[in-house]
Amino acid sequence: MSMEMNIEKSAPKPSSTKMIRNKLKPYIPSLSIIVLLLILGQILSPGFASLGNIGTIVSISTVLAIAAIAQTLIIISGNEGIDLSIGAVMSMGALLGAVLSKGMNTEIWYTVLILIGIGIIIGLINGIAIQFINIPPLVMTLGMTSVVNGFALAYTKGLPSGGAPEILVKLGIGHLGPIRWMLILGIVLIIALELVLRKTRYGKTLYLVGSNRMAAIISGISVNKTVLLTYVIASVAGTLGGLVLLGYVGSAQLEMGKDYALLSIAAVVIGGTSLTGGQGTYLGSALGSVVLVLLTSVLVAVGMPPGVRVLLQGLILLLILLIYSREPKLRQ
């Protein structure tokens, strides 16, 4: 109804509907795959598209979408930016969250503050090494993965203790009326990130830095500051995302977030963010997260063993890459 009115109103300017269509266009593949997967899941395993199961899928998607915050921002920042450490950072966030809070609500703010602090430190180390010592992001974050995993192992002595504070559990699996808190969190994150990317100075700078670093430097933009800030935001999103993961699962295990590194990259690629940097949306990555979680759920629902699931995830990522991100021919 309101759509029709919109069209009528803008009749003299036919470009308006076109604009809406153009804005929606990048999301149509993801949205249609989501619908298709839901139908496929329901056919293969009745009850798949039930409200309860969809709630679960949305919750896990939100966790993945948090990992995708880090990945989206870093990939937009260009220079072959990528964050392979996000899975390890999330695992560590969950583990430290359980140990530091001792499973008590009263300790939660202290825990959050410490995790933010650790996130800032990890982000700064990544950013400085990448920006000032010219270590490729891939190698630096791969190295950081093993340091962070090692730190989590050393800190917990291999025996994770404590549990999720009640407030995190409530966020992870609780409802506000009929709506899951995780769905609310997901929507809030999408709106917040889109606002940051489109409306703030940081967001606009990020796109420029990603698309053309030389031009950014010449126009007086502090590229170093933007890139450092991006890696810091990414790692903080990782440690706090670990807390959310802890709330959803209820207890912490070593390397529980390992898969999120690969999945978040896949989500960003599905979301249409260019791997060369300088363009992309967070909404796309969030929808990509839903696609991937749905896909995994379908594979679980039809009873695929874990190994086959990982294998298929790899093949699907290959397929996505072939569709979305082939490089131009050398001849051109």
Binding site: L138, V139, G143, L262, G307, V310, G314, L318, K329, L330
Partner: protein, 331 residues
């Protein structure tokens, strides 16, 4: 003699050689019998897989690519060999199938990256998932065994005094010399420096890329066979750490991540350096829960150190390779 000295000093692998000598001196004080034949032989038994997989990575890095799937390939080959042997295959044929699997992943990488033009990083990240998933599918939990004769042979000496692991290293080095003997060797370096110009000069760059990934898959499979001789069992996650270690060893050995510079001996030195550092961690008896952290920090510091050294060198060179734009330094 003087030209030899100059050549040695300018050799890209020279800094890593110095690092090895320095660390060996430290280790010789802290590890008893460090310079004994038996210690060297046990060192090679443990770290030959790392040395070989670093070589595999070097081929790809020289062509300005990267192969993240080497760890997945090692796991896959390991579980295939162990599983087939467990099902009654003869051990040599199990090894043959294992190596074939490594080559197949390499071919997959080569096709997707070379012919279909997907970024190496993401393509090999995806094939890692394929290889690691297949490994987990074939053998969900660690287990199985290989003939005890093979383990004994791997951990002993051939021709009396040469440790058997050296045989594996020599085979891998031979592949390097095959590359160097053909035009492909030079074309690889050229492609790593400037793929566009190399393409324009009529070099079949797509095929060169393809061969680097196939070589990497093949050599990683050799590393897996060596690793199986060391562990004597199957483990679907055994290769996980090797991806980072392989890249780190190559970087420490002055193989450029930007392609076109470094050589396989640098990677070998880098791997030996990491091996020495890891054995030092064991020797000074750091508690086992801290070992992962310590080795991670060493690897990271190695990468940072190697990159800092290269940056320093660039600053002092006469040719400014990195010209700052006008106004770049203004506040």
């Amino acid at each position: 003699m003087n030209t030899f000295k100059r050549k040695l000093l300018n050799w890209s692998s020279f800094p890593s050689l110095v690092l090895i000598i320095a660390l060996s001196v430290i280790n010789s004080f802290l590890i008893p019998h460090f310079f004994s034949m038996s210690y060297i032989s046990s060192f090679l038994t443990s770290y030959t897989p790392l040395i070989i997989v670093a070589m595999a990575q070097t081929f790809v890095l020289l062509g300005r690519g990267i192969d993240l799937s080497v760890g997945g390939i090692i796991s896959l080959v390991n579980v295939i060999v162990v599983t087939l042997f467990g099902q009654g295959w003869s051990f040599p044929s199990a090894i043959a199938v294992g190596i074939l699997a490594g080559i197949i992943i390499g071919v997959l990488n080569g096709i997707v990256i070379g012919f279909l033009r997907v970024t190496p990083l993401l393509a090999t990240l995806a094939t890692t998932s394929v290889a690691a998933g297949a490994a987990l599918w074939i053998m969900p939990f660690p287990g199985g065994s290989v003939p005890i004769e093979y383990v004994m042979w791997y951990q002993s000496n051939v021709i009396g005094f040469l440790p058997t692991p050296l045989l594996f290293i020599i085979i891998s080095i031979l592949i390097w010399f095959i590359w160097k003997a053909t035009p492909a060797g030079l074309q690889l370096y050229s492609m790593g420096r400037d793929i566009q110009k190399t393409y324009v000069s009529g070099v079949p760059v797509v095929w060169i890329q393809f061969y680097t990934y196939v070589s990497s898959g093949f050599i990683s499979a050799i590393a897996a066979i060596a690793l199986t001789g060391n562990t004597g069992a199957g483990d679907p996650l055994v290769g996980n750490t090797y991806t980072l270690f392989a890249v780190a060893a190559a970087v420490i050995g002055s193989v450029s991540l930007m392609g076109g510079s470094g050589d396989i001996f640098g990677a070998i030195f880098g791997a030996v350096f990491l091996g020495l550092a890891f054995s030092l961690i064991y020797a000074i008896q750091i508690p086992s829960t801290y070992q992962d952290l310590t080795s991670g920090v060493i690897v990271l510091l190695g990468i940072i150190g190697a990159s800092l050294m290269k940056k320093r060198k660039r600053t002092f060179s006469f040719k400014p390779s990195h010209i700052k734009p006008i106004g770049g330094n203004q506040p």
